[in-house]
Symmetry: C2
């Protein structure tokens, strides 16, 4: 019997990186190591300085990414007692759009003494939200020119994406822009570090940098209209060559082989995005099954054979999730974040005390109490917009609503109404996909919440009327990266030729299946009809009270 | 110098009675005594029995009222060291509509062994809410016959009122109805006990039993249509003679003189209602100044010179508050109850801990934190319907709404939004009065909340655009009863000829005046416009989601 072969998958998160060492034949996660970033999310003051950050900023230090590689890869090798000879590939997944300005040799500007004190020289993390003005400009310019790519992004460009962040650098720090040779996603930069070659991913370019295989990047005419100084941005600071997921970006450099304990030349896969990498790790490599990555927010991903325009989706990218398919993404900006808000700010002491006495966490306790309620029994209905709405309204200015409160309302009822509201929000997205010819027959959830919260899963099954399954891995993004690494290595090296093959061997689901309960479904259909009515009323312009409240708040604060 | 004269005012509340002994010349409250009812609010099981109560029932034991007299009157005499010779009158105020079935001699049926085990033989407390079906029948029959009195009650008869409760007795316990000689408000029954004479008040009859000086009670034709068995209810079980507030109902009987320590023949005033008695105690004896009694709910009272139909008011009664004027009442069914709900069910432990550490009560702490916010700064807007809406929509089926929630929302912001919502609800009522020709230039608040919560008062001033003053007495209902007692005694005995005179001497306001702050007013005008839009949308039929949620809940519980 041949010796087992392994790949390493490394997921770069917002606070830490996680590396797993995976058996290519079985998908078994043999070892895991986590490294917390020294500088974490930089949102108060720049490292080693007293330069304060403005509100809504969120930066990172690229040195943290490199340290993560140096710490976690040797750690998993050691833990697994596996020889580097048997590691056939390295794959990465990353938050996105997380971008940095670098020199022609890949050196981040923030690593150069002369630029270190300028916040614009650092990595802009995905949740850097200070480029909203720029996002509005990017969208407006596209609308005015009726750019063909705009509908592929739900008609609106998010402030989290590539060009709003680039435009912010240009407008606020033209000197940084001028000193920048390459503007690059961290997902691509880390692959550049490992291989010594700038090999950018079609995935990040497609979802975050407005690129498509058909149109390429937006035209220089568009950028000229947006800001004349940006007219040459693609030719001067980006790359026209983009590589598909699972492609071999190159071999590990001698330097990085030494720093990680891996063999020089080990296949390094093209960079991937965390949510996208999770899809094959959730066994989904064909149309009809939607993957929901359920964390602080929800990312919905589904494959299709034809490019479709779906209302309010985040993007559709050919080969963007699994090569050979159009990868559709949609999202809800609040899930775990809403529950965390509720638990921290709206649950009375008795519940905390009961949870402590029973050695539960509070979330468990609320879920247990809420599970005793029948659908609709609370008399409550919420709009899940505590963090705005992404799909399908694409409106960050929307806010949360609770209807039906009475003197008899209890915390577990509000909790359940919040869970239900997020499920209704997902049903709106599923119906938008279905309406546009992207059918969804089944749902696979991944992330920590689905594994720990059966009530949440059952409510999603009941509300959507779909069977719901849960990915076996609790490190889906890292496992997906390791699976793509096996493809980058190829069958000849002991890996696979396609991600479909890799998924067949390496990805698994948990045993439990959540099936819609007919009686619940009937009740939820009635509630959903009420949800949609409120959704349309508050979300589609009939009553702009949420915007008015923000304007009044600005006036109260003396900002307007 | 003549010796001081005194009156005793006794306010019969839901849980206890409070007697005060008042100096007639100055209004000084010389002594106070409180007696908690032995049986309190009976809502689980009948006293001395295992007869269980149905949901929404709320009964009382009339023996508790008698015990209160026997305990509190001697107590205030003793505490004040005042001779009974100097007590010139006794006045009472009562919850309403609180009614009981009695024999021809005034004996409550529940005091007779043969009826004691029947819940319908007991006092139905104002908040007995089990006669909703009957209330709907009373309203429907009035609508079908276009009864002229219906508009005087906002177009709808409350389940708390007289005839819904009577009809419930008739329908559910015809044997109790048959054994009843007199159906009477507890406010009138207690006066009957003290004087030996059945002298009913025009006030309770007007506000709760559909009586008016112009029309009298509803016609026997109406009652025939409502239920043929009720056709003769007025002639057989009520009284056509009704006495104005401040009238002398009679003199104290020898028996009650002995039981209380007062002199036989002491003037006993006609019965009054707690809220109504508070109005002159708040110095208001003329039109243009609205009294708000702010407790668990709000009662709004204002005087007028002309009978007007005001949208959604609770009632308008000639001489119903101050003789010589039409007394208008409106109400909001939630105020302190909403804050109590919020504090018990939606405030996280840190706030409770901080309050405890600072030796604050939680309400103080929330008010302190909320006071640091500017109007509109929370970005929140609520509809204050946690306990339904009385004026102006007259719809108990409406429920609470919160709009504008975000991950940054904090408890004090929700608290402030709830306070603001109740203030907006009051502004709707004030504007309804003004639209109908009942102007309101100034507001006087009474109750415990106004005395302890300056933030609440300032917000009401800012939202309504009116100056707000606060009654000095924290026992306004009992003081009002004592003032009316001075009128019942008359000038010859050392009292007064009119309540206007009594108010001039006995009623006072606190020094502080809450004046609208222009800048706040401007912000609240914007917020109020948004409130009204939501109010109309959810309250006037555009979106019946609140009713739908209740129907879905009933279905979930297997009730529908």
């Amino acid at each position: 019997m041949a010796r087992s072969k392994y790949t390493v998958g490394i997921d770069f998160g917002s606070e830490s990186s996680r590396a797993i060492l995976v058996d290519v034949a079985t998908g078994e996660e043999v070892a895991t190591a986590i490294h917390s970033y020294l500088d974490g999310v930089i949102d108060e003051v720049l490292p080693d300085s007293d330069v304060p950050m403005a509100p809504d900023w969120a930066l990172q230090n690229p040195a943290d990414y490199l340290a993560a590689l140096e710490v976690t890869i040797p750690a998993v090798l050691r833990l697994a007692r596996v020889s580097a000879d048997d590691i056939i590939g390295i794959g990465t997944s990353f938050t996105s759009c997380t971008l940095l300005p670098v020199r022609a040799d890949g050196t981040p500007l923030c690593m150069l003494a002369e630029w270190r004190a300028d916040p614009h020289a650092w990595v802009k993390l995905w949740k850097h939200h200070a480029a909203q003005q720029e996002a509005d400009l990017v969208t407006r310019a596209a609308r005015e020119r009726a750019e063909p790519w705009l509908p592929l992004y739900g008609g609106k460009v998010s402030s989290e994406w590539f060009f709003p962040k680039v435009l912010q650098i240009l407008r606020e720090a033209p000197q940084v822009y001028a000193a920048t040779d390459r503007l690059i996603e961290a997902a691509d930069w880390i692959v550049w570090q490992l291989t010594g070659q700038e090999r950018r991913s079609a995935c990040t370019a497609g979802y975050k940098a407005l690129w498509s295989s058909r149109h390429g990047f937006p035209s220089s005419g568009y950028f000229q209209a947006l800001d004349p100084r940006l007219a040459g941005v693609i030719d001067s600071r980006m790359s026209h060559r983009l590589f598909p997921l699972g492609a071999r970006a190159g071999g590990l450099t001698a330097d990085w082989a030494q720093r990680t304990g891996l063999r020089p030349g080990t296949a390094v896969c093209v960079g991937n995005v965390d949510a996208n990498a999770s899809v094959p790790a959730a066994t989904v490599v064909s149309p009809g099954r939607m993957v929901m990555l359920m964390g602080p927010s929800i990312c919905h991903m589904v494959l299709g054979t034809v490019e479709r325009i779906v209302e309010g989706m985040c993007g559709v990218v050919e080969d963007g999730i699994v090569p050979g398919y159009y990868g559709f993404e949609a999202g809800q900006p609040g899930l775990g974040d809403i529950f965390a808000w509720f638990m921290e700010h709206a649950v009375p002491p008795l519940y905390h005390e009961e949870a402590a006495a029973r050695d539960f966490d509070l979330h468990q306790l609320l879920a247990e109490k809420a599970a005793r309620l029948r659908p609709g029994e609370s008399g409550l209905l919420a709009l899940d917009w505590w963090n705005g709405n992404r799909s399908v309204l694409v409106d960050a200015g929307l806010t949360g609503v609770l209807v039906g409160a009475s003197l008899a309302t209890r915390a577990e009822e509000i909790y359940r109404a919040l869970v239900e509201a997020t499920a209704f929000g997902t049903r709106v997205i599923i119906e938008a996909f279905a309406r546009s010819g992207v059918p969804i027959d089944e749902i696979v959830a991944c992330g920590a919440l689905p594994q720990s919260n059966p009530l949440l899963m059952q409510i999603y099954a009941d509300v959507t009327g779909r069977e719901l399954k849960v990915a076996a891995s609790s490190n889906a993004a890292a496992l997906g990266a390791a699976m793509h690494a096996a493809v980058a290595a190829g069958k000849g090296a002991g890996g696979y030729d396609t991600i479909v093959e890799a998924a067949a061997h390496m990805a698994r689901l948990r045993d439990e299946v959540y099936r819609p309960i007919a009686e619940h479904r009937a009740l939820y259909n009635r509630l959903y009809a009420e949800y949609v009515r409120l959704y349309d009323y508050f979300g589609r312009g009939a009553n702009e009270v949420m915007k008015a409240l923000k304007q009044i708040r600005a006036q109260a604060r003396g900002e307007a």
